[in-house]
């Protein structure tokens, strides 16, 4: 087993804000690792630390076998990084953007690579179009093509599908899986649970701390969460009242139904007791990643306060 990412005890502060707090992550080569956590939890900063865009205050690590501090240039050469905000040149055409990147990385057969990349995107006919005129989904695919043009061994994607429609997201993820199949390691941050489930493994970060790690099934199992699904007239309206009940960690409406989760089965049963009788129907379901993450978010907030 080779590790594409092996960083230990990373810390980064901006002013008095401790944005990344003792984060250690290992990712095996060829895996897609989903990087999750609420807004402002330090995901972007961690990604930037790994690709040499930021220098950690303390901590150490290797990315692709190179020291992230001393050999940042080597890491940069072998890593593709896609920023959260579209950051190609909007006033250059698709082909010009790709040609620029090809030159910056000193690639050979530049024209052929650009052509192949546009071909793969299915954008050959629009190669002369300005990048700024593309729709959101196409922009992200272009950015991905741009980030992989120099055939990196590691791809760092920072919320690549934010604001992109479901179909474009699916296409995007198909491409990521195709790249991983070719041996690329991918670390991708996201807020979408369906995307998290498409990853080989996930890492959950909150308030700068890594608090859960493993495959989706492992993370769910490790949470020890029990989820009851309630259906019935206006069951979804119960969320507010159930959330207050002792032993209930989360209570959230799912369509017309409600999911109530907690670790203590008897407390959970006690909480739903007033609505146990018909017309309400309760079944135990497997907790979803979302249930787990809402639980994790609640916990880490407690830790902080």
């Amino acid at each position: 087993m080779t590790l594409a990412i092996d960083v230990r005890g990373l810390n980064k502060s901006f002013g008095d804000k401790h944005v990344v707090n003792d984060v250690s992550i290992r990712v095996e080569a060829g895996r897609i690792c989903g990087f999750l956590g609420p807004n402002g939890s330090g995901k972007t900063t961690t990604l930037r630390l790994m690709c040499g865009l930021l220098t950690p205050d303390s901590g150490a690590g290797e990315v692709l076998g190179f020291d992230i501090i001393g050999q940042a240039e080597e890491v940069k050469r072998r890593t593709g990084y896609m920023t959260q905000k579209f950051s190609l040149y909007e006033d250059l055409t698709l082909a010009e953007n790709l040609a620029f990147t090809a030159r910056v990385y000193g690639l050979d057969r530049r024209a052929a690579r650009v052509d192949a990349s546009l071909e793969r995107l299915g954008l050959t006919s629009r190669r002369g179009q300005l990048a700024g005129t593309l729709s959101g989904g196409w922009k992200q695919r272009l950015a991905l093509a741009n980030a992989t043009l120099h055939e990196p061994q590691l791809l760092l994607l920072d919320e690549p599908t934010a604001g992109v429609d479901p179909k474009a997201r699916r296409t995007f993820w198909d491409e990521i899986h195709a790249l991983a199949a070719e041996g690329l390691t991918v670390l991708v941050s996201t807020h979408y649970m369906d995307e998290a489930e498409r990853c080989h493994e996930i890492a959950y970060i909150s308030y700068g701390r890594l608090i859960a790690r493993g495959t989706a099934a492992e993370v769910i199992a490790a949470s020890g969460l029990i989820t009851l699904r309630g259906e019935g007239p206006e069951a979804d309206r119960l969320a507010h009242r159930l959330a207050e009940a002792p032993g209930v960690e989360t209570a959230a409406a799912f369509g017309a139904a409600i999911h109530v989760s907690g670790e203590d089965r008897s407390a959970l049963e006690a909480a739903i007791a007033p609505w146990r009788q018909p017309p309400y129907r309760w079944t135990e379901v497997a907790p979803t990643l979302e249930d787990v993450f809402i639980q994790l978010m609640g916990r880490s907030q407690d830790n902080v306060s």
Binding site: R48, C51, G52, T55, K76, Y81, T83, S87, L88, N146
Partner: protein, 377 residues
Amino acid sequence: MSGFSLNRVLAVLIKEFKQLTRDRITYALMLAIPVIQLILFGYAINTEPRHLPTAVLAQENSRHARSIVAALKNSAYFDLVAQARSPAELDRMLRTGDVQFAVTIPGDFSRRVARGDRAQILVEADATDPSATSGAVAALAALPAQALAHDLTGALAPRGQPPAPFEVVIHRRYNPEAVTSYNIVPGLLGIILSLTLVMMTALSVTRETERGTMETLLSTPLEPLEVMIGKLAPYVMVGLVQTAIILTMAATLFHVPMGGGWVGLAAGIGLFITGSLALGFLISTVARSQLQAMQMSFFYILPSILLSGFMFPFRGMPAWAQWIGEAIPVTHFLRVVRGSLLKSQGLADQWRELAALTAFVCLVTALAMARYRRTLD
């Protein structure tokens, strides 16, 4: 809801004001610019310079010669800074710009005064900037009547309302007809290059930061020097094209003399373009937005116009303002351009200005490299 609502106006007004105070640099510049500029330019600018450096070539060591030198000093327009030993040395001092005036007292001066035989002294003025010399030249008119008043007593004392004992011959060198455009047009070369090049490059890096493309740029193997050279090279071309246009128009439309000194001029243009671009790059590494970059560029350009000798005589400024002026590359560039075109200066006359420009280029490039972040820290 339609019509005019004062409350909605107030909403916008409050928002604008808050945003303004949140942008600290803009806020600081808005308050600092009027204060600094007013104090700076209010005290520095003086359109009638006095105490102009003057060299004297006295070909006779006589009482009269000493009296004339003393009278020149007393006028407050002339500061005697050098004694030339030969006409060639005197000419060199004027050409290099070490002195503004060169006074020659001929060897037979005293004899001619004694004989009443049309005695003359020669005053050569560096008239590349006509306004810098006009006051002093006007003051020379009074010199013959007063300079020798104490010397010529007794038998030599003229009676009644006498003719002046000697006359002052004035040569306006380099720009005999005192054509203002001969001075302004070459100067404009420096100002126009500063305006476009500093501002364009200042915006170029800030734009990358503002649009977020900087993050991608930094994640690539690009080295800071590679970014800088790559970004500045196109503007070198812009600068060269501008120079060609301005010089061609100066020659054809304004008939500015093209004296020569092409080697020094070419070197000066090259250094000045590089220095302006490097300065723009430095500004862009400090400014956080394009607006700030713009304001900082203006902060540099105003003294370039007012303290460089472009608009107002350099020697009219107090010493402290001249020191500031010396730190501005436009000052040195103007001397090179005017020196080359109007005074046909050679490299030997210009090396100090070229050295100053070189120092500026090196310093600013080093600062820009030090400031340029290869990370987002």
